[in-house]
């Protein structure tokens, strides 16, 4: 039989990759979440513990709180930066964008360790504050870039129309530019929020063991209770799925879609 090339065959390597490295491990996680570590039999106890034990609930709370805090801080710092960069009048913008990207060339673990030594040398005790600082520091570029690209695409005519209708510079910013950059803000927020609720490298390195987020808890419990750890992982997955679902509702409008990075 003659082999006939089809366009869909080009997707094959990725399909294999996806099945072997994402889908199958996911099945394992789901499987282990319902298997008792002690007896090896089917059980709901892992899921129940992940949803009800004070340790996991506390961690969920902290994860969402610190994920949200990181996102908000990144937004507050990142939006003005992205806005200034997107202005044509500002001649240095290309250089500044590169300056924001360069730290990303360095492995983030190394960056985090470097941050830790800086804190040591300055005599700052590690804790929640330093962990939050580290998260903001590591994830800030993910907030700036999508907002920056959306702001670049904002129709200058709309800004002029806004001015023309009587909006002073402040009103133009809040009534026209900000609403139009919502798609970028949402991608940015997701790209900061998702990794920050699941990170464990940053919190482990920079919190001095004083508190843990979901990622750390999953990482730690994996070695003594794989079932519990898998159940936690599933809950986190649902959490991320939920946040994407919510964000998708905001980008429902046709013309707003495709803003930002994805």
């Amino acid at each position: 039989m003659k082999f006939k090339m089809k366009r869909s065959y080009l997707a094959m390597p990725y399909a294999v990759y996806l099945t072997l490295l994402v889908f199958v491990p996911m099945l394992f996680i789901v499987y282990y979440a319902f298997i008792s570590d002690k007896t090896g039999g089917f059980t709901f106890s892992n899921i129940i513990r992940a949803l009800s034990s004070s340790e996991s609930i506390g961690t969920f709370f902290y994860s969402i709180l610190y994920g949200a805090l990181t996102t908000v801080i990144c937004f507050v710092i990142g939006y003005p930066v992205a806005y200034i960069l997107s202005q044509k009048k500002f001649k240095m913008n290309k250089i500044i964008v590169v300056l924001f990207i360069i730290p990303m060339w360095v492995n983030f673990l190394i960056r985090t360790l470097a941050l830790k030594s800086i804190f040591y040398s300055m005599g700052i005790t590690l804790g929640k504050g330093t962990a939050l600082f580290g998260m903001v520091y590591d994830f800030l570029p993910f907030m700036i870039l999508p907002i920056y690209t959306t702001l670049l695409k904002v129709d200058k005519n709309l800004i002029e129309a806004s001015e023309d209708l009587g909006a002073d510079p402040r009103t133009v910013l809040f009534k026209t530019i900000l609403p139009l950059s919502v798609p970028g803000i949402i991608s940015g927020a997701l790209m900061v929020f998702m990794p920050s609720i699941s990170t464990y490298a940053i919190t482990d390195t920079l919190s001095g063991g004083k508190f843990q987020l979901l990622g750390s808890l999953i990482n730690r419990s994996y070695f003594n209770n794989m079932g519990f750890s898998s159940a936690l992982a599933i809950v986190m997955l649902l959490l991320i799925f939920l946040s994407m679902l919510i964000s998708y509702r905001f980008t429902d409008k046709e013309e707003l879609k495709g803003g930002g990075l994805w």
């Binding site: 005519n157 002029e160 129309a161 806004s162 001015e163 002073d168 133009v172 139009l180 013309e255």
Partner: protein, 492 residues
Amino acid sequence: MSNIIIELKNVSKTFTGGNNVVDNISLKIKKGEFVTLLGPSGCGKTTTLRMIAGFELPTSGDIFLNGKSIINTPPHLRPVNTVFQKYALFPNYNVFDNIAFGLKIKSKRTLTEKKAELKKTSGELRESVKSQIAEFKTGSKQEIIKKVKLALKMVGLSDYEKRDVNSLSGGQQQRVAIARALVNEPEVLLLDEPLGALDLKLRKEMQLELKEMHKKLGITFIYVTHDQEEALTMSDTIVVMKDGVIQQVGTPTDTYNEPINAFVANFIGESNIFDGVMLEDKSVRFDNTVFECTDIGFKKNEKVDVVIRPEDIYLMDVANSNAHVRGKIISSIFKGVHYEMSVLSENKCEYLVQDTTRWDVGEEVGIFVKPFDIHIMKKPYTSNIFEGVIEEDGKVNFGGGIFDADTSGFAAGENVWVKVSLNAVDVIDDKDRGTTGGEVTTILFKGTHYHIDIKCGNFIYHVNTDVQWDDYDQVGIVIKPESIKLFKGAEK
């Protein structure tokens, strides 16, 4: 009280890079007038409009609104509103919120002012100010709803309040844009080619509607377009612009019947434009034939532009002794109301003729023109004049390039006047091979040859050529050394 609402005084605009987009224009616009800025793209009409709106600052000159300079007023404080070419509706708001945008901002501003007043007042008066604020809050909301509904009704879009602006057709979006501007009751409405994106039929409909609105509202309209027909249909006054300079200001009838120069004649309606020589009063020679005309006051043998509208040329039997010239039909196209024909005369000059009688290609005809249908115009220029400087022996720098020329009698570094006749400029299609180069901006067909303008940076070359170039063609310029005439007396 003067009835001038907008006045531009010696306004110029130069963008970075040294391009003079608007060059020293002065213009007075009366209250309630419908003024159209008309010209080909790149003539500075949109920049002029944007300067009135406040989006661009003039490099020099001043703009007055009701006698007061508004140069330093930012756009949001100017009592003018703009209808943008590409509508510029806010995609994140529905129709109602788009139209209410300006009103809401205005009411919010009044509210903040009243609250500031409240902070200052004390005692018994406080209560009255407070109730005033409460009253204003409810009142303004009702008022906004009322005004938006009225504006929507005016543009024929009642009951469209809740619609998403992206679900509207181009024509409907344009109507919303017009309503959004008019609802603020501006003193002047600026319209930047608002109908450019609509199809022909809708455009004609909207033209009449806009004219109707203008009549009803009595607001001053300043309208920008490159469509001469649109300008003729709608305006009270047409301002014809070219290369950042106003060519003519007048009523539609005046600009059509009495164009001031060959460019305006060519741009407004179709025309035959010929190079002619004024022999004496009421007598002009072109196409190697002497015609009787009605113009007087020209110098003897002065070179002039002769303009004849195609509908003013009469074709007759070739044997008719009244015919001024004879020729042969080289093309004949049916245009609905009339036939449009090209006639090549015995002296190889082409006439464009519109007639309701059909003549076939190849037929011999006589051409007749009535004296008062021959319009004589002064030539704005008869040769290219530049200021230049002698670079070294045999080289002179002018018009954006260094040309070889006979410089005997001039010293290096000396400033000179340079004169080059229109026929002496050679145009080549490789911009980089020319001594200098630029872009073709204006093309006039003159019956036997083309007259084109080439813009090289800030210099404009006027050229007669047999070759048909297109707008925006990038061309090089070469001039033979013996055709460059130098004169002393240029200032530093």
